[in-house]
Amino acid sequence: MTEKLLQLEKVTKVFRRAGLGLVSEKTTRALDEISLTMYGEPTIVALVGESGSGKSTVCRLILGLEKTTSGQILYEGRDVSQWLEKDWKNYRKEVQIVFQDPYGTYNPFYRVDRVLWTVIKKFHLASSDRESRQLVDQSLEAVGLRPREILGRYPHQLSGGERQRIMLARIYLVKPNLLVCDEPVSMIDAALRAMFLEHLRDFKKLGISCLYITHDLNIAYFIADSVVILCTGQIIESGKTELVVTDPLHPYTKELISSIPNPDPSKRWTEKLDAERVGLQKLGKGVGEQGCIFYDRCRYAMAKCEKNRPPLLKSKDREVACFLIPEAN
C-alpha cells in the first residue's frame, strides 16, 4: 500500500487583507511552493517549523478551511479545488483534524459530548440511538476516559488534557484515513502530554495516518516516522526522523537541533550563539524574494546564496535545499 493518499503540489498561499479602494491592502506570503506527500500506508509525519513558518496554514489548506493561492492539493489523485459539495462531505469523513486549542474547540454553550454526537449524525455512523450511545462509550474508553465522567459535562468542567482526548475520541469514531494534528499538546500540561501521544500511536495501528504539526522537535522525534522541516514558508529539509535528527544536513536544521535545551546539566551548550546573526532578521525581507530563505541567519552563507534559491534535492530517503550539498551545484 504505497499509493499516494494526499499530495500537496507546489502549494503557495498568500494572505490578503481585504481592501476597498481607499482602504489599503496588505499581503503576506505564508507558504511558498510547498510539496508534500502522505502515503496510504499508515505513517506519522511531523511537520516542524517555528512560529511564522506557515505550518498551521498547511493544516488549514488541507482541511479546506483556506484556499490555495496557487498549486494543487490532490486527494487520492483528485484535485480538491474541483470538488462539489458531495465530494467535500466524503472528504471530511476521510481527513480529519485535532486543533491546537483544547479550550476554543468546544462551543461553551453545549456539552462536550456534542462533538461526538455531531459526527455520528453527520457521517451516519450509527443506525439507532442505542448503537450511537454504544459508539460514544466505546470511543471514550478507547482514549482512556470513563464515559460516566464525561457525558453531560460542559467544557469548562474538564481539563485541557481531557478535552483533547475527547477530540481523539471523535477521531476514533470517524476513523479517517488521514488525521492532521495542529500542535495538539502545546496547550496541555507537560505531565499529561505523553498520554495523548500514546493514543495517537495506537491510532496508527488502526490504519490512521497522521500529519503532526509542531514546533517541538522533541515531540516530533518521539512520535514521527519522518519529519519535514519548514522555514518561513519553505521546506528546507525532510526525511526519516532518526536520520534528520541524528545527522541534519541543512544549517538551519543543525542549529535548530543543537539549540534544543538538553535536560541533562552535564551536557550544557558549549558554543555561544552569535546574537547579531541569529537575533536580527533583517526587517522587511519577506518570503518569496530571490535567494535562500535562511541567508540572513546562516553562518555558512555564500555569495550565491543571496541571489539564488537552492533547489530541494531528493536523494534516496531525504530531501534538502542547500548549496552546501555538493549535488546542489
Binding site: 517555528e50 512560529s51 481539563s159 488534557g161 481531557e162 500540561d189 507537560a190 505531565a191 499529561l192 502530554r193 505523553a194 498520554m195 501521544l197 514546533h215 522537535l217 522533541n218 515531540i219 522525534y221 518521539f222 512520535i223 535528527v245 542549529e255 535548530l256 537541533i257 539549540s259 534544543i260 535545551p261 538538553n262 535536560p263 541533562d264 546539566p265 552535564s266 550544557r268 551548550w269 555561544k272 550563539l273 552569535d274 546574537a275 547579531e276 541569529v278 537575533g279 536580527l280 532578521q281 526587517l283
Partner: protein, 317 residues
Amino acid sequence: MQAILEVENLRVYFTTIEGDCKSVDGVSFRVYNKEILGIAGESGCGKSTLIEGILRLVKPPGYIKSGKVFFAGSDLLHLKERNLRKIRWKELSYIPQGCMNALNPVLRIEEQIVDGIVTHTDLSGEKAKEMTSSALNAVGMPSEVAGMYPHELSGGMRQRVAIAMSTCLRPSLVLADEPVTALDVIMQRLNLQTIAELKERFGMTVVLVAHDMACHAEICDRICIMYAGRLMEIGIVDQLFQKPLHPYTKGLLEAVPSLQRRRVKSIAGLAPSPLNWPRGCRFHPRCPFQKKICKKKEPALREVDSEHYVACHLYGD
C-alpha cells in the same frame, strides 16, 4: 553561602466568588549571592504569582496574605512605597515575559529604557541615552533599536529589549518570569545564554522561572520544583536531575520526551484546583508511592542531602 533574598512562608491569595484562590501557599526559600536559581513547575502551580508576590506587584483581587521577603536588610512586604520604589530596578529588577506585551506600544524603546534610568540616577538625558545604547549592545543588539517602537520588533527581539532594560542599572538581583516562553528554540537559546552571560559580567544573581526543565538544566545552579502553590524540592541542579527525590519531580522529568530519551510516562491524575488543594501532601492523589500519612499530614521541606531539600514523607524518619 550568603543569601541575597530570603522568602519566608509567603502566601499570595486571590479573592474569587468561590472563596480564596491560594496560588502561593506557604513558600520559603533562599537565593544565594551570584547564583542562578531556577523555579520549575507546570502552569497553574503559582510560580509567576510567587515572583509577583516577591516584587509586591500583585494586583487586586490578588493580595499578599502573609509572609516575609528579606532583601538588602529589609522586609520588602512591609517597606514604605517610597523606599520600595528606590530599591526597585536599581537593586531588585524584573524581566517579564516580554514577547507579548511587556513593552509600551506607544513609546520608543529608548524612552522606555531612559525612564528607568533617570528615575534612579542623576544622569542627564544625554548620558542616559548613551547608557541605553550600551545596554542594548550588551545583549547583542545594535543601537538603532533604541529609536524603534515595540511593534517593529519580533517577539524574540522584544524579549531581548526587556532583558537589556532590566539589567541596564546592573541590579544585584534579577527575577526573570518566563523569559524564554513562547519563543522559538534558537531564540530561546540565545536569550538564555544572554542572561547567563550578563549574570557573569555584571555579577548579578538571577531567579529564572520557566516551565521547561531542560532550560534550567542548561544554565541554572540550583532549582526549586513547585507544585500546587508550594515548593516540593530544592536542590543543586546536577543532583536534582541525576537523583530526583520527590515523586513529582521524577514524574515531571519522565513526562517530557527529548532527543535523548524516547520513553515517556505521564503523571496520572489531574492538577488540583487552587481553590481547594488536597489535604495532607498536595501531590498524594497522583502519587504512586502514597502512604497513609500522606493523606493526613502535609510534609515539610527538610534537608535530606547537603543542599538538597524535599517535602515528602518517603524520606526521613
